[in-house]
Symmetry: C2
Subunit: 119 residues, 2 copies
């Protein structure tokens, strides 16, 4: 219950687009079919991705979507952010220096951690 299906669908969508190696655009309907996702819902998601340039669109017959950038230049975080809105966890929840997800629970750290956010 941390990421909604939007993020998941979005990633799936991007992955599906990334599979298409030649420049040909992929119709959203084939993505929906492949991933078993509701087409009309995907439309909304892909619209957001287009607005931030993560995908490009080609209208009309034989149109579709393709990645806006080479696949290996796209980070998953971007996709999630574009769909989920600004990610603002809890301020003290930046991945700690060593990569572990837990903030220092010493008295000083706490003082800062508990109050910094609001006042």
């Amino acid at each position: 219950m941390l990421f909604s299906t939007r993020a998941e669908y979005g990633v799936r969508l991007m992955v599906e687009l990334g599979r298409q190696e030649d420049g040909a655009p992929v119709a959203l309907s084939t993505v929906a079919e492949n991933e078993r996702l509701p087409l009309s819902y995907l439309e909304h998601l892909v619209a957001k991705l287009r607005k931030v340039g993560l995908v490009e669109s080609q209208r009309g017959a034989h149109g579709g979507y393709r990645l806006g950038r080479p696949a290996d230049e796209i980070e998953m975080l971007e996709v999630v952010q574009a769909l989920e809105g600004a990610i603002a966890p809890m301020e003290c929840f930046h991945p700690a220096p060593e990569g572990k997800v837990s903030c220092s629970h010493e008295t000083d750290g706490d003082q800062a951690c508990a109050t910094k956010l609001l006042w």
Copy 2:
């Protein structure tokens, strides 16, 4: 939009309890006052924390709550999990080995990533 206020309130609560160095329990009302949080809402949260043993309670007058374990043995993740429910982001969203939040976007990795979850 990643963690709800539950997680935040819960952490604040735990921090507040952690401040009390002697074993005396802290009344929820004082926590609510200190942190400017609604008391009756905190009751629900602390109930969950109690069920998983993160806090202990003392009923009756001059009762209250104290940490179920020494403060430095409690990880923030535990608190969040207890309140937010099982954390099940997207399967491929485990913090990557190096600590960076992005899953390998190579064709093989994607194959696994996109389909592993559902089928």
